[in-house]
């Protein structure tokens, strides 16, 4: 709790300093009038509530209440802004708020949990679009009223940053959305000289940015920069494969936050700076966690085009035979097992089999077995994807274990059931130096006494790498759609 107070104190102190700084008499710093003071205090309150809200996410049982506080903080910020003396007409604002609420409600209420990754990518696009438009509007407005005095460099830098990061996040998020929704292929799209071309474009965009700081009246350069930002977003996500999406989605989350922060610098607003910095930090940390869980650097994810290097994969499956198992036999194994661990992967999400998983787990528990869920950080298409799906199916969260928590107990597990996971359980990550995933931390599934793998067929996983685990003598393959297989298992266990 003391830490909490300390944390809450930091921006409070900073903001208080800001308020105090503006009160002593100075040429350009007059004391705040009553109304303006009210506005600033609501912003201060909402900043604190945002931090408390995010802080509450460290404890699952307090998270809901905490996020309600954050929502209250947002309401404060909106009300505070409406009090702003610079606002002359309310009709467009009210119209926009109502339309936004009408659009937002179904996006929050009815989007199924299975569609969460694309839903998140989609809303990054909206957030970034808002920041970009504010940047463009602010620039447009500034060059119209500020006359020959020009836009101050610091402000121009903030607007430039906002527009550049905002625009690349808009198109980048749209591409991520397309890949996750699968109207754009999930395979990496590459062309010759791609990295060179991207680098060139990026340099050009930075060039425009720097140019604008010193020549803010060069409107054409401003729009070239905007266009370059949009193009970079598309080209940045184009070569990234579906399995790398957790990193990209996190990174775009970070960019959307930074763009909001830059808006705060451009329009002198601390709550925007604070909220944007919090979002930026969050997305950045998540992308680092995701990259680590894949044992790859940022640069490698962004420029590596993982899927295109399949040919370098060391071992092939030639001469090896995977044993398949019938649902009846698998059911017998599970019904009498003492310790069972489920390992869900993207395949479970695709088949939407989480409810059947829970049903099977409950049957095993009824027979006296103990069931746990082992979740790899990059299983699925976004951070925490599997947890949300399982929680939706009423799996209690205290049965979900992170990789570090469960990896040492696989050797005392009777049966591991792998449901549509592949690369995150591939022992080649530990044993085969020539494998592209060598060094990636994996779930030690192969240490278990028995392994049942639910899989549609023998296709390699998203990274296109053969998985030795499937040919292990302890492993039995149960082929078929995960949902169908699990439904069969459930009825077999019931009839035993």
């Amino acid at each position: 709790m003391s830490l909490l107070l300390f944390l809450a104190g930091l921006p409070t102190a900073a903001a208080a300093a800001y308020l105090l700084m503006s009160s002593p008499t100075g040429a350009s710093m007059d004391a705040l009038g009553g109304r303006e003071l009210m506005v600033q205090l609501t912003y201060l309150a909402s900043s604190v509530l945002f931090i408390l809200g995010l802080r509450s996410l460290t404890k699952p049982d307090q998270a809901r209440r905490g996020m309600q506080l954050a929502a209250l903080g947002m309401a404060f910020a909106i009300v505070g802004t409406l009090l702003n003396s610079g606002i002359l007409t309310y009709s467009w604002i009210i119209g926009g708020l109502i339309l936004g609420a009408v659009l937002g409600y179904p996006l929050g209420k009815f989007v199924p949990m299975t569609a969460m990754p694309q839903r998140i990518a989609f809303s990054h696009m909206f957030g970034a679009l808002a920041a970009t438009l504010v940047g463009v509007g602010e620039y447009y407005h500034s060059i119209q009223i500020e006359g020959a005095a020009g836009i101050e460099r610091f402000k121009m830098a903030a607007i430039g940053f906002e527009v550049l990061f905002g625009s690349l996040t808009v198109t980048g998020s749209f591409m991520a959305f397309g890949k996750l929704q699968e109207f754009i292929t999930g395979r990496p799209i590459t062309f010759k000289g791609q990295n060179f071309f991207n680098l060139l474009l990026f340099t050009a965009a930075i060039g425009c940015f720097v140019w604008m700081i010193f020549n803010p009246f060069d409107v054409r350069v401003f729009y070239v920069m905007l266009a370059a930002g949009f193009a970079i977003g598309v080209l940045m996500v184009l070569p990234i494969g579906g399995a790398d999406m957790p990193v990209v989605v996190s990174l775009l989350n970070s960019y959307a936050g930074l763009a909001a922060s830059a808006t705060g610098f451009a329009i002198d607003n601390n709550v925007l700076i604070i909220a944007g910095a919090l979002d930026g930090a969050s997305g950045f940390i998540l992308s680092i966690i995701m990259s680590k869980a894949m044992n790859r650097s940022f640069g490698n994810v962004l420029f590596g085009a993982f899927g295109s290097v399949v040919t370098s994969s060391g071992k092939t499956s030639e001469g090896l035979v995977a044993k398949s198992i019938s649902a009846e036999d698998a059911a017998v194994q599970l019904a009498y097992a003492g310790r069972v661990v489920f390992v869900p992967g993207y395949g479970m999400a695709v088949a939407q089999a989480q409810h059947q998983v829970r049903e099977l787990a409950e049957l095993i528990e009824k027979n006296g077995g103990e069931v746990k869920y082992a979740i790899h950080p990059v299983a699925g298409r976004m951070p925490g994807h599997m947890n949300v799906l399982l929680a939706e199916a009423n799996v209690p969260y205290d049965k979900m274990y992170d990789m570090e928590e469960i990896n040492d107990s696989f050797h005392e597990t009777d049966v591991v059931v792998v449901i549509g996971a592949n690369d995150v359980v591939n022992p080649a990550a530990k044993t085969d130096k020539s494998s592209p995933i060598y060094g990636m931390p994996i779930l030690n599934v192969s240490e278990a006494r028995n392994i049942i793998v639910l899989k549609r067929g023998m296709n390699p996983g998203f990274a296109g790498i053969e998985n030795e685990l499937f040919f292990d003598e302890k492993t039995n393959m149960l082929f078929g759609d995960a949902k169908t297989s699990l439904t069969k298992l459930v009825s077999e266990v019931k009839s035993l």
Binding site: L7, L10, P11, A14, A15, Y18, M21, S22, M29, L54, R55, L57, T58, A63, R64, Q68, M74, I78, T89, W92, I93, G96, L99, G104, Y105, L107, M113, I120, S123, G127, A130, A131, V134, V136, G137, E138, Y140, F154, A256, F265, A266, N270, V271, A275, G276, A277, L278, G280, A281, Q352, H355, P383, G384, H385, N387, V388, A391, P396, K399, D402
Partner: protein, 108 residues
């Protein structure tokens, strides 16, 4: 640079540190709700959008501001609702409801 701008940089850096300290403690279990939550909070761009839409800076600025208000408000409303919906699903084994509700969301 003015004093205000220096202070803004302080605010940014310190808020970044706070974000870092808080978010490194969020367990992987709640990483998706965290993304949804930061998404909702990034709707704070609404503050800038509202001023742009209502400031009578000319038609172009008003239209840009209006679109920005719609986008940001969509994120705010949708983001907070979905975060709450998600968090309401995370339950411990002992506090489980007597009859587990069945497949409403995932079936579609």
């Amino acid at each position: 640079m003015t004093v205000t701008q220096i202070i803004q940089l302080y605010v940014f850096i310190l808020a970044g540190f706070v974000g870092y300290l808080v978010i490194t403690k969020v367990p992987p279990l709640l990483h998706t709700p965290l993304m949804a939550a930061t998404n909702a909070i990034s709707g704070i761009s609404l503050v800038g959008s509202i001023v742009l839409a209502g400031g009578q800076y000319g038609t172009v600025a008003t239209v840009l501001g209006f679109i920005a208000v719609v986008c940001a408000m969509t994120n705010v409303v949708g983001g907070f609702i979905i975060t709450d919906r998600m968090l309401s699903m995370f339950k411990r084994a002992d506090s489980k409801p007597t009859a587990p509700q069945d497949t409403t969301g995932g079936a579609s």
